[in-house]
Every structure is written in structure tokens, then in C-alpha cells.
């Protein structure tokens, strides 16, 4: 713009020089020169309207003056042209309207005025110097044309502007549409997000497990319904608070420790914990997991807590049950074909097999041969029909010895499959079985004893009759005839009856269950003699020599029946032991000292090996064939000895086999208080 001003000024200066000074021109020039900077200044001072106005004024003045001097100095028009151009250039496109309109108006007014003036001086337009009038006219036309051109350009520009504006508007509109679309998308995305959030919340609310999220500040940001219910806290209260606000300090420490771990390591952590809930302390399975952002940083910790209380109780219950079972019973499990899949410790112990020797085998390795084939096929039939079988079985150990078990076998579903297996639970009843046998034996003996008692009674009366008659005969013989030779056989009858009586007494005494007999003073010799009566025939028939040393007159405080039983046991043992020998004798002797009396039974055997000696007093231990003897004799005898305050011992120093029953002697105190033996 400054350039234009400089050009205009130059143009004016040029025109001055060319045209020369002229009053009107001078005034015009001066005014223009002064006004133009002011215009520019005004424009600069952000007063476009004022500058525009001034410019228009000047322009119009110029035009007016120029037009009114149409008939005169035509070269004046030269002045206005550059000025017009300048002024027009200074205008903004949208102000062209005004300037052109005003320029046109001013020109028209000038021409009219000029014409009027011309008419007044009676000078016609066309009559003047053709050149000037034409020039003026051309000027005028030129001015109009320029105006028109400008107007045209203006309109085009407007249109262009309009189109630009339209374009802009449409672009704006499309941008607005895009924005609207984007906005809609955002809204729908937002809705979808909200929906999804609700969906997730519904899901986690539906879960029975407790769910929560804690951020890095330890504050709860999410939770579910289960959480609220379990701890009786509303969601509103929970979100934004920390564990410290809600739980006991001890629990807080643990829980925050776990979540700190997750934060620091970025890995999950699971544990079981007893949580204090509204329903009391319950076992929960706590699972903490990290929530990471896109860069892998842990921003929050999530927790899922499941109630395992029932399961845990059940599990520990089952564990205790199993442990109890393990300790008390023999447990085995087999597959559907009967092959052992599990054998507990007791099974291994009692069977003598190692665990690996049992697994994969079936129970045939325990077969003792006691039971028949039918027994086992019945067992299999029962359990194959999914029934439980229960009964007593004799099994065989690895070393060949046997034991009795009470067995229950039940079919079960193997875990994880549809297959059927079997579980067997056994209890060792070997002792009970032996006790049963003993009981049977004792009851047999008892009934035998009873029978013996009845027999004894029955025999006694006929014996009395025999004795009586013998005595009567003796009497008659003495009185009436003098047949002394008949006295001998009659005496024999008496003594034989005596013998029979002793046998019967011995038998009866021996067979009685004498445990509850009172202790009485009894003559030891009588007891032993009556016992010997029971065996003497047997010994004689087998060629066994019996030596008796029973000469001492000793009274013992005892249960005679039991002493008889002990003596009987020792004698029978001795008899059985020497049955295959060449030299067969049995010696029974009684020794006495101040303290006690010893009854020794010695047989012609060569003694007993130390291994047997250590075991022979044990119940059920026997060196005899199974079925002959219960193995109880010595243990019972030993027990009897002990209950009498005495002892049953084996004399290992004796070259033969000797058993000694020691009994305390009966003591009385005399008047001086000193013990005297009876």
C-alpha cells in the first residue's frame, strides 16, 4: 500500500510539472495529498469505516470537480484517474459496492451539474472542442466502464466468495455431519460401554464368589453383590474405602500383604484363609490377580474369593476319617478285576508283603487254602452284583503263617470314571478267633466237667453199695463162717472201689472251672495222687515208667482243682514229648523248704531248645500239630501258678526236661508271732 501511495505522489508530481499550476488542481492535489495519509492512518488505527468514508468523500469530490470541469481543462480528468484507481485499490472487495455506487452517483451528479452549467453558459456538450468533450465523455465512459468492471469483478468475487462460502458452508456442514456422526458413534459407543459395564456387573453380581478390585492406593474400586452380602457393607460405602476401614487389623495385614505381592511381582497369588464374615468365620479361597494397563504396568489388583468352608470342613472331615481308618483298619482297593490298586500301611504290616509286591496282584496271593473255592466264588458273585460282602477270612502272610480277618468288601465307583472298583476294610481278628477256640475248648471242658460231676455222682452210689456189700460179707464171714481166705478178695474189692473213687474225684476236680474256688488248705499229696490216678493207666499202657516222690506231708493254701490241672498239664506234656523215644519215664517229685514247696515233673526228654523256651509260656504257642492242643496249657498253668503266689519254671540246667511248679507254703503264726509252716 505504501508503494501505491508513493506512485500516486509521483504521479501527482508529474502531473504538476506537466500541467502547471492551476487553482482547482492545486486545491485538489493538496487536499488529496493530505487526505490520503489520513485515510491510511485511519485504516491503520483500525477505523476502517472512518477511513472508507473519508476516501469515498475525497474520491467523490475529485470526481465531482473533474466532471464539472468537463468543458474546461480536460486534463484535470487525469488527476482523478490515478486517484480513483488508488482509492479503489484501497477499498476492500466488499466495499466496492459502496465506492462504485457513490462514484457513479457522484459522476452522474457532476455531469448533470456540468451539463446544467454548460447549458447556463450556453455551451453544448458536443459543441465544444470535440476533443475535450469526447475526452470527457470517454473519461466518463471509462469511469463507468471501470465502475462496471469493478462491479462485475465484485459480483464475480462475491459469487466466488459465495461459492467459497457455500463450499465452506457445505464443508462445514459435512464436517458438522461428520461431527454429528462421530458424536453419535461416541454416544453409541458410550452406550455400548455402559451396557457392557452393566453386563459385566450383572455377571459378577450373579457369581456366588466375592469379587473386588483395589487400586494402587489400596482403595476399593469395584465389588459385587456377594461382597456386600458377605461383609454386610453396601457398595456405596465400600467403593472408595480401604481394607483398614472395614476389617480387623490382623486380617488387613494379611490381605494387603498379598495384594502388595501381586502389585510388586505382577503375578497372581492364591491362598486359603479364615475370613470374618457376617455369618461368623468361614474358610475362603482367595485368588488375587494383577490388572495391567497396555504398557504392562500393574494398575490394580483384582480378587476373587470363593467360599470353600463346606468343602474344607468336608475335606478335613474326610481326612480325619481316612486317617482314623488308616490307623485302625486294613484297607485295600482293587479295580474291577480284583487287582490291588491301593494297600494301606496296616495291610503291608500284617501281610508281610511290601507295597509294591501287593499292587497289581489280586487277593490270591493271600490265599491260605482254608476256604473252599465255593466260598470265594460266592464272595465274587455277591460283590459283582454290587452288593457288600462281609465275613471272616483266613489269610496267609508272605512267610506262610496265617491270620484271621473280618472283612467287608464293598463295590465303589472309581473317582473320575464310570468303572466299578472294590474297597475292602479288614480287621485283624486272629486273637478273637483264638479266644473263641479257647472258649469253645473251655466250654467243652466245662460241660465235660459237669458231665464228669454228674457221672461221679451216679458212680458214687453204686460204689457205696459195692463197698457196703463187701463189708457186710466180711462181717458175716467173721461172725458165721470162718472162711478167712475170702477176706482177701473182699478187701481187694474195697481197695479197688477206693481207687475208682479216686479216679472219679480226680476227673471231676480236674474238669471243674476252679477260678472262683476259694483258696483252701489242702493236702498236696492227695491232690497229686488223685491226678496221677487219671494218668497211671495211660502211662502203663504206653510203657512209660512213672516215678513218684510224694512222701512229704504238706498242706498248701490253694485251689485244689487248679493244682490238679497244672499237674495234669505237665504230665500230659511230658507224656506227649517222650512218645517217640526209646527211653520213657516221667518223674514227679515234691521238694519242700521253709518258704515254698516245689512240684517237679521231669520226663526222659533231652530238654527244650532256647528258642522254644522263650516262647512256650505264650498263649497259643505250640510245637504240636495244628489241631492237637490249643497251645494254652502252659500259659494257663503259668497263670494259675502266679495266682497262687507261685511260679511255673523250666529248669534249663537239668539234662532232661523238667518243669517245676513252686507254691508258697501255708503259714500260720504261733503265739509268739513267729511264722510256722504247716
Amino acid at each position: 500500500m505504501h508503494l501505491v501511495i508513493v506512485v500516486a505522489i509521483c504521479a501527482y508530481v508529474f502531473m504538476f510539472c506537466w500541467v502547471g499550476l492551476n487553482s482547482a488542481a492545486v486545491y485538489l492535489t493538496v487536499v488529496t495529498l493530505i487526505a490520503n495519509p489520513i485515510v491510511i492512518l485511519l485504516k491503520r488505527a483500525q477505523k476502517p469505516k472512518a477511513s472508507r468514508l473519508l476516501l469515498v468523500m475525497i474520491c467523490n469530490i475529485d470526481l465531482f470537480v473533474c466532471s464539472s470541469f468537463l468543458g474546461h481543462e480536460g486534463n484535470l480528468h487525469f488527476y482523478c484517474l490515478p486517484f480513483l484507481a488508488l482509492s479503489l485499490l484501497l477499498f476492500k472487495p466488499d466495499e466496492f459496492r459502496w465506492s462504485i455506487l457513490s462514484a457513479a452517483l457522484t459522476s452522474a451528479t457532476g455531469i448533470l451539474v456540468s451539463a446544467k452549467w454548460q447549458a447556463a453558459v450556453n455551451v453544448s456538450l458536443l459543441s465544444q472542442s470535440g476533443f475535450i468533450t469526447r475526452f470527457a465523455l470517454l473519461n466518463f465512459i471509462g469511469a463507468f466502464l471501470m465502475s462496471a468492471t469493478f462491479l462485475f469483478m465484485f459480483l464475480i468475487k462475491i459469487r466466488r466468495h459465495e461459492s467459497v462460502i457455500e463450499d465452506l458452508l457445505s464443508r462445514a456442514a459435512s464436517k458438522i455431519d461428520l461431527l454429528r456422526e462421530a458424536n453419535q458413534k461416541i454416544e453409541s459407543a458410550h452406550l455400548a460401554l455402559v451396557e457392557q459395564k452393566d453386563f459385566l456387573q450383572t455377571i459378577i453380581d450373579a457369581s456366588p464368589s466375592i469379587f473386588f478390585v483395589r487400586n494402587s492406593a489400596g482403595v476399593y474400586t469395584h465389588c459385587n453383590l456377594a461382597f456386600e452380602k458377605a461383609f454386610n457393607i453396601s457398595r456405596a460405602k465400600l467403593i472408595g474405602s480401604s481394607p483398614q476401614d472395614l476389617f480387623a487389623a490382623r486380617d488387613v495385614d494379611l490381605l494387603t500383604k498379598e495384594s502388595r505381592f501381586v502389585f510388586e511381582t505382577g503375578s497372581s497369588k492364591n491362598l486359603e484363609y479364615l475370613l470374618p464374615t457376617a455369618q461368623g468365620p468361614l474358610w475362603y479361597f482367595l485368588s488375587y490377580f494383577p490388572i495391567k494397563d497396555s504398557s504392562g504396568e500393574v494398575t490394580a489388583v483384582g480378587g476373587i474369593i470363593s467360599n470353600i468352608h463346606q468343602e474344607k470342613i468336608l475335606r478335613s472331615h474326610h481326612e480325619s476319617l481316612f486317617l482314623a481308618l488308616e490307623d485302625s483298619a486294613i484297607v485295600a482297593m482293587t479295580d474291577s478285576r480284583g487287582k490291588i490298586t491301593f494297600a494301606n500301611k496296616k495291610f503291608v504290616e500284617i501281610s508281610g508283603f511290601e507295597e509294591h509286591e501287593l499292587l497289581g496282584q489280586d487277593h490270591r496271593i493271600l490265599n491260605s487254602g482254608f476256604h473252599s473255592k465255593e466260598f470265594f466264588s460266592d464272595l465274587w458273585r455277591t460283590i459283582a452284583a454290587t452288593n457288600t460282602w462281609s465275613g471272616e477270612i483266613q489269610n496267609r502272610r508272605k512267610d506262610g503263617s496265617t491270620y484271621w480277618v473280618h472283612t467287608t468288601i464293598a463295590p465303589i465307583k472309581l473317582p473320575g470314571t464310570e468303572e466299578v472298583g472294590y474297597v475292602s476294610i479288614r480287621f485283624d481278628i486272629t486273637k478273637q478267633k483264638e479266644a473263641q477256640r479257647t472258649l469253645l475248648h473251655s466250654s467243652k471242658m466245662a460241660s465235660l466237667g459237669e458231665m464228669a460231676g454228674g457221672i461221679a455222682h451216679e458212680i458214687n452210689t453204686p460204689l457205696a453199695i459195692i463197698v457196703g456189700h463187701a463189708e457186710m460179707a466180711k462181717m458175716r464171714l467173721k461172725n458165721d463162717c470162718h472162711r478167712d481166705d475170702l477176706l482177701v478178695p473182699l478187701k481187694k474189692i474195697e481197695t479197688t472201689v477206693d481207687r475208682i473213687a479216686k479216679i472219679v474225684t480226680g476227673l471231676r476236680t480236674f474238669s471243674r472251672n476252679a477260678d472262683e474256688d476259694p483258696m483252701v488248705e489242702a493236702d498236696l499229696r492227695e491232690i497229686l495222687e488223685s491226678t496221677l490216678e487219671l494218668c497211671s493207666e495211660k502211662f502203663k499202657n504206653s510203657g512209660v515208667t512213672l516215678n513218684q516222690n510224694l512222701e512229704c506231708d504238706i498242706k498248701v493254701l490253694c485251689r485244689p482243682a487248679q493244682i490238679s490241672q497244672v499237674a495234669m498239664n505237665l504230665l500230659n506234656n511230658a507224656f506227649d514229648a517222650i512218645s517217640g523215644r526209646d527211653e520213657k519215664w516221667i518223674d514227679i517229685s515234691v521238694f519242700k523248704n521253709d518258704q515254698d514247696v516245689a512240684i517237679s515233673v521231669t520226663d526222659s526228654g533231652q530238654g527244650i531248645d532256647s528258642k522254644t523256651v522263650s516262647k512256650m509260656m505264650e498263649p497259643f504257642f505250640t510245637t504240636k500239630e495244628p489241631g492237637s492242643g490249643t497251645g494254652l496249657g502252659l500259659s494257663i498253668a503259668s497263670g494259675i501258678a502266679k495266682s497262687h503266689g507261685g511260679n511255673l519254671t523250666y529248669d534249663s540246667k537239668c539234662p532232661n526236661t523238667r518243669f517245676t511248679l513252686e507254691l508258697p507254703v501255708c503259714h500260720f503264726r504261733d503265739d509268739a508271732g513267729k511264722k510256722i509252716a504247716l
Partner: protein, 124 residues
């Protein structure tokens, strides 16, 4: 003839033994009656005076123990009772406590029984 003048009641269910005892007593000069059980014996005691009663214990239709008890209870001066017992009966002490004078365990010597009866007679 050591039992002369005595009236003895023999209570015993076995006929042979009963006869034997009775005959023995008669041989020794006594008068002997027989009863096969305690019931009959008790009735007889009520009807006749007896000096001694020799009784068994186990008898069908009235045992010896009841007889002893009844006799001791019912008569102000009962006859002397001697018991012939088997194994399973009461001990001697128990019989004596009931009121018997002596006890003989079968099989016993009849001679010794007679001897005891004779001695008891003189004590009267």
C-alpha cells in the same frame, strides 16, 4: 450188735443202697425203716418216733436238705440226722450248720457209718 434198741429211718432213693443200709442196721440190732424220698420220710417222722435218720441228699420228690430243715423246724426234739452226700452237695460245715450230726461222703465205708451211729447212741 452195736445198734440195739435204735429206730433208724433210712432215706435214700437208690433201692439197693437203701436195702443195704437197712440190712446192715438190722444186722447190728436196730429197727430200720425205709423211705425213698424226703417227703415220705417227713411224713413217717411225724407218725413214728425215730432215733436216727440216715439220709441221702439228692432224691426225686424231696431232697435231704429240705428234710433236715423241716425236721429241725417242726420237732422240738428231732431225731439225729446223718447225711450221706455226693460231691456237689453242701460242705460238711454247711450240713452241720443246718442241724445234721455228721456227714459221710459217698462212697463211704458202711462200717465207719455204723461205728459213728453207735457212738452217737451212747452220747444220748
Amino acid at each position: 450188735m452195736s445198734l440195739t434198741g435204735l429206730k433208724i429211718l433210712v432215706v435214700e432213693d437208690d433201692p439197693d443202697l437203701r436195702d443195704l443200709l437197712a440190712n446192715f442196721f438190722v444186722l447190728e440190732g436196730a429197727i430200720a425203716r425205709q423211705a425213698q424220698n424226703g417227703q415220705i420220710a417227713f411224713e413217717m417222722i411225724g407218725q413214728e418216733p425215730f432215733d436216727f435218720i440216715v439220709t441221702d441228699v439228692r432224691m426225686p420228690g424231696g431232697d435231704g436238705i429240705t428234710l433236715i430243715k423241716q425236721t429241725m423246724a417242726s420237732f422240738p426234739s428231732p431225731p439225729k440226722i446223718f447225711v450221706c452226700s455226693g460231691f456237689n452237695d453242701l460242705t460238711k460245715a454247711q450240713f452241720l450248720a443246718l442241724g445234721a450230726v455228721d456227714v459221710f461222703v459217698k462212697p463211704f465205708s458202711v462200717e465207719s457209718l455204723v461205728g459213728t451211729l453207735a457212738r452217737a447212741m451212747t452220747k444220748k
